[in-house]
Symmetry: C2
Subunit: 202 residues, 2 copies
DNA sequence: GTCTATATCTTGATAGAC
DNA sequence: GTCTATCAAGATATAGAC
């Protein structure tokens, strides 16, 4: 059970059997749920026998854990990349838009992995959740810092509520937004615009 | 398999064995997930044998269907009640706050039933989802009408996105808000305030 | 690294006594 | 209306050949 980093995984092209299992399983967990998806179903999707999966992953839980970790790495990397690309003197609404767009783009480009985080995580077995919590906390801290900086009038509770409500709004998009109908950047603008200026001005 | 309305159910006090099953099952589905919760677990929670549950519900799916229906009735009733209580000349932000507060209040007072709607519905068996969709659509139409009225500057797409993002924000509260830490009305104000006036002014 | 075969357990659901 | 007893199916996981 070797735990590779995303970097190591990315240099290992092309897609291995192991990667294929991860990808198909993530897709199935996302659409059907974790407990609802059997190893037989996953095995069918990758044209293997159920037993063969155990050569790559020690258990179904370990498979889910790795999927969730990949998803959290994707949004964390996207957040850092967006910060690096912003001009130093970017305005507050521009910064907000850049990070919302980055989150949404990661949500849809690594769709199965990141979206599984949104919908599957709450019902994952306790051990699986516990293994993923530290990375989630670190990512949330990025957002707390961002919102504090751009909305200095909010107190700590206000920042918390704003962050959680914004997460709720962004993450719910996996259940209703179709990237075929527009770019994630436009979607980000449609969310950030009314949020920044207020519905009062819309 | 008699399908009672909420009204009929409410006049049938006190809590029957059947009601107890509904309540405990809703709680378990919410916290552990539907597929993750066995009938044996539900039976334990109500101090019965698994077989006894089948006297009240014809299947596990039927039990979930009824739970989801109760939840949707609760928010629909709350929306109508909030509309009825508003003065005819209430301001747009007051109307928005009243309905957000009503939704949140219903979410937490009928917590297990309405929150199950948020988290369990996406993974419910297809037949269960199909049975509940019409009531969900009707409820959503209420919000579309409300948002169109109070933010006339938004086009249809803008209204849709605003509604979905707001739903995402409101419904995510079941995963992080604790009613012991404040009233749902205050929570509604904390969400509606920045949303209405804009983060730019916060 | 993938297979066949199978062990072991848990699941939703049923039969029938009381 | 609740029970005991049980079934048939499906689950995760393992053993060992190739």
């Amino acid at each position: 059970m070797v735990a590779m980093t995303t970097a190591a995984r990315k240099t290992t092209n092309p897609e291995t059997g192991r990667d294929r299992i991860l990808r198909e399983a993530a897709e199935l967990f996302l659409t059907r749920g974790y407990a609802e998806t059997s190893l037989r179903t996953i095995a069918d999707a990758v044209d293997m026998q159920p037993a063969s999966i155990y050569h790559h992953f020690e258990s179904k839980d370990a498979l889910l854990t790795e999927i969730l970790e990949i998803g959290m790495e994707a949004v964390t990397t996207a957040f850092a990349a967006a910060a690096a690309e912003l001009p130093p003197n970017a305005s507050a609404p521009d910064r907000l838009h850049a990070h919302v767009a980055a989150h949404l783009e990661a949500l849809f480009s690594h769709h199965a992995f990141t979206a599984a985080h949104v919908t599957v995580f709450p019902f994952a077995p306790a051990e699986v959740r516990a293994a993923t919590v530290p990375k989630r906390d670190a990512y949330e801290a990025n957002w707390t810092a961002l919102l504090s900086a751009i909305a200095p009038g909010l107190d700590d509770d206000g920042v918390s509520i704003a962050r959680l409500a914004l997460f709720g709004a962004m993450n719910s998009t996996v259940q209703w937004f179709d990237p075929a109908n527009g770019s994630t950047s436009d979607l980000a603008a449609a969310i950030v615009g009314p949020l920044w200026n207020g519905l009062a001005n819309s």
